[in-house]
Symmetry: C2
Subunit: 366 residues, 2 copies
Amino acid sequence: MTSTKIERSYIREILDATNKKTISFAGGLPDHNLFPMKELKKASLKVFKNSLSMQYSKSQGNEGLRKIIASLYTNEYDFPTSKDEILITTGSQQAFDVISKTFLKEDVFVQSPSYLGALSAFRILGLKIKEFEDINFLKSNLKETSGLYMMSDFINPTTKCLSKKERKKILELLNKNNPYLIEDAAYSLLDFNGKIRKSISSSYEKSFHLGSFSKIVAPGLRVGWIRAKKELIDELLVSKEALDLHTPTFNQMLLNEYLKKNDLFEHLETIRKEYKEKMQFMSSCFEKYIPSFKFKKPKGGMFIYGEFTEDSFALAKKALAKNIAFVPASVFYTDKRVSNQARFNFSNSSKKEIEKGLKELKNLIS
Amino acid sequence: MTSTKIERSYIREILDATNKKTISFAGGLPDHNLFPMKELKKASLKVFKNSLSMQYSKSQGNEGLRKIIASLYTNEYDFPTSKDEILITTGSQQAFDVISKTFLKEDVFVQSPSYLGALSAFRILGLKIKEFEDINFLKSNLKETSGLYMMSDFINPTTKCLSKKERKKILELLNKNNPYLIEDAAYSLLDFNGKIRKSISSSYEKSFHLGSFSKIVAPGLRVGWIRAKKELIDELLVSKEALDLHTPTFNQMLLNEYLKKNDLFEHLETIRKEYKEKMQFMSSCFEKYIPSFKFKKPKGGMFIYGEFTEDSFALAKKALAKNIAFVPASVFYTDKRVSNQARFNFSNSSKKEIEKGLKELKNLIS
């Protein structure tokens, strides 16, 4: 345990600061209009019939749900997996804490810029965070006790996917240095065309592959998971149960019932189509109102990442005062460097809001 | 961060080991037949109408629910409290992690024997756990940076309540040494006669008072809370959001709706009556089948705690092999000392099971 006096996550602060007038491109919020409310409600009627849905349950998680997740790996990710290789977590966020507490003693390497929530979780446990932009940095620095945190698909915030060549290169480094790999797949099922990429974890045993229902069903249930080999899961269980005993029983049974009765990929099809359209629309608004903002259209996920011609942190502050929220890239780095880059979420705003927000943002740009 | 290779909680292991044939007096499980399923289901129908119940939400927790909890303090606990002094946690268990990460750097003092879940949470963060049986031990050892973890009402496992004199003594020590007080009130509302005792926290500002819906509504929702002054809550928020962003939105809205439409104290009346009856029944079975087991009838809570005339750990192992589970006291001490004492839960078994279990246990006693 080291210093714990840490700034609150900028994004969570924005979430707290927003009001009904705010147009928010800040959080990683899915479109709540796409949540399968009717189907979830129907599933709940079944779950409410069993009073054990309100009782304490096992730390590793609901067996039926773990089976469904395991088959998602085996059948869709081309990554053979059994239910014993899945640990249910209270949101994917909790996975960082559970893994770090159990296995990481000293340092963790993170892609830069990186997902804020992961940085906070590592920082609060007193781990040394080592940022890298160039994979080659890992060559001489990664140790057997180190953690390597990364996303391979639709990286938050940059929206990029690692190429096959990059994955191969990383795998080589992993096999050479043998660190713990934490591969965060929060957005992996959100390719606009439904493509599912091969994870690095599937070729590397000392790995944790993190998944979540937050982006593909609903985040308000806080159900995520860790996929790892059984020996690692068994050790994680100790930390998991000390944290919150187990993830809510009801929420797990609800998702289990929902997934048994509904086709997840049919639902994903709806989300992808809608998100692709919103991304296209936001892109066209940027081109129309702020053509100086340089970005590459993402192939999936929920964000557009690009570069202004001025300091994005100062701009974000001005914008928030006018009830427009987005995330300046500086907060995605541990050193809070000055950056012109910024992340815009498109999934949680209507087209009307997207147009209004970017039109107003235009007037704030020097 | 220090050693993390820690044994799994004995109780959680028992939970995992039990099967349908096991008669379990081990866990702290409420009677699932008493969960207000009908009322919760009704509340859920309202909550499902709002798709924001499935969306991300604020780290501090649902405002309506925090208001209800605050009024519980103000009106029932005689402890004036505002909604800003409440932080919702994912079960009360999470409170240990959140508080420790934020404020405790070195050591935590715990009543001995003590609640296992708290011990695990402290241990996993590398804190030095200092057990005390005599309050006077605190006099010269407690520091300003120390934590003091305790229960005041229906202490787990001993089932005792602190006397007014003991509370006064502890308060004097607190005021003298100024440590962080963590007062766990998990069972405080389960007095068989409905008596609510004055917390120590209400007279000491540097305190965290922990509450939970697990024992009074349903544990499967994993919703608990921390009551502390606003300045402390603001600092806790950083750790809370790094852990799981927030406690499930749906679960908080469900409890909020349930508590708005139903009288919690009417429900508590039902639970108390039932638990008192089961406690009386288990007491009479002990007297009938194992009269050598010495115990004092508790005035509330979910356990009977007493003493065999032989090593309870060895007995518990023999019993588990015969599908009877209870918790030997040795696991409630960090030094795993040999003890004849043991804890029996009565809330989660039927009278038939209680009688059958104790009758069979009798045959295993030397």
